[in-house]
Symmetry: C2
Subunit: 188 residues, 2 copies
């Protein structure tokens, strides 16, 4: 019999985590997921996203509630600042992905974390998206993640958690490697 | 003298948009921005992001308010569903970027939009991030954007708006091309 302390570490239910790994090993098709975000334009650069349904483990599923997020440009970029810019959401996605992985990996390795903070910064030259300089790319030129990680393990072990999280991060892979994007347009 | 109808189209202040373009043409350094997202781990796969400060047009700036967003995994992925998954935020970022660009470009071209909706979906095989199959990548295998665009222009002109937005989208560039990411870790 395991106690709560043994099976739950860093808020991660490690028993369920390992059971999930075993289940996917036995039925690899269960790991095929499709995630989705819907969006509705409001006005100008302001739009509202909804995240609710997804497909996984063989069936359509929904989050426990619908999540809604506004995006906009700040006034200095001719918007009304009703939400973060799209590119800021990318940095947020990277931070949350690396952090979730870190907590899971620490739990699996028996390391108790006490603090994980990060700041992700991305440098971008808007001469690209403004169409003013064809030699400047549209997106970030580089992204830097600065982590502070504390827990009951030597510094080297804590650093290895970040490295393993990077090696298994979906968002890190999306940003540092290419994902093909197809765009379809209906005007009906 | 321009009337509101002439200078504001689709909620885009086109006079300010063109003035901004002229200002950046005259001083290209103004277009160097740095965006940031901070993150604090809560428990398990749950973390909270904060987006407030950024650098641009030569100085440190802040959004009109701080934006906070939780991320988590759903129960089926051993989380507590306190927010969307990190990879869903990536899809949201892509939808909002393409949509903001579309509205700006339509305004610049004198096209009035009446409706812009989109759904972005991404297929991912979690055998990658679970470390169960080294041949499966961690991130999305492909992403599809489905737009519905309506406005006072022929279908072909509306489709061209989407194409031009794609060609100038920062998030599309980040996802379909590589961005180098540097990770630094402090354990103090």
């Amino acid at each position: 019999m395991t106690t709560l302390d043994e099976s739950t570490r860093n808020g991660v239910d490690t028993a369920t985590l390992f059971a999930t790994l075993d289940a996917v090993k036995a039925a690899p098709e269960a790991a095929k997921f499709q995630f989705r975000a819907r969006n509705e334009w409001i006005s100008g650069t302001h739009s509202r996203g909804t995240i609710d349904g997804f497909y996984g483990v063989g069936e359509e599923r929904t989050h426990e509630r619908s999540f809604h997020f506004d995006a906009d440009h700040p006034a200095v970029l001719v918007g009304r600042d009703n939400g973060p810019t799209p590119v800021e959401y990318v940095l947020h996605a990277l931070a949350t992905c690396l952090t979730a992985g870190l907590a899971n990996i620490a739990a699996a390795r028996g390391i108790r974390l006490t603090e994980v903070r990060s700041t992700v910064s991305g440098d971008i030259d808007l001469n690209g998206i403004l169409g003013l300089n064809p030699e400047v790319r549209n997106g970030y030129q580089n992204i830097t993640v600065r982590f502070t990680v504390k827990g009951d393990a030597p510094a080297e072990k804590l650093r290895q958690l970040v490295e393993q999280s990077r090696a298994r991060s979906a968002v890190y892979d999306v940003i540092t490697n290419r994902v093909p994007v197809t765009i379809e347009v209906s005007t009906d």
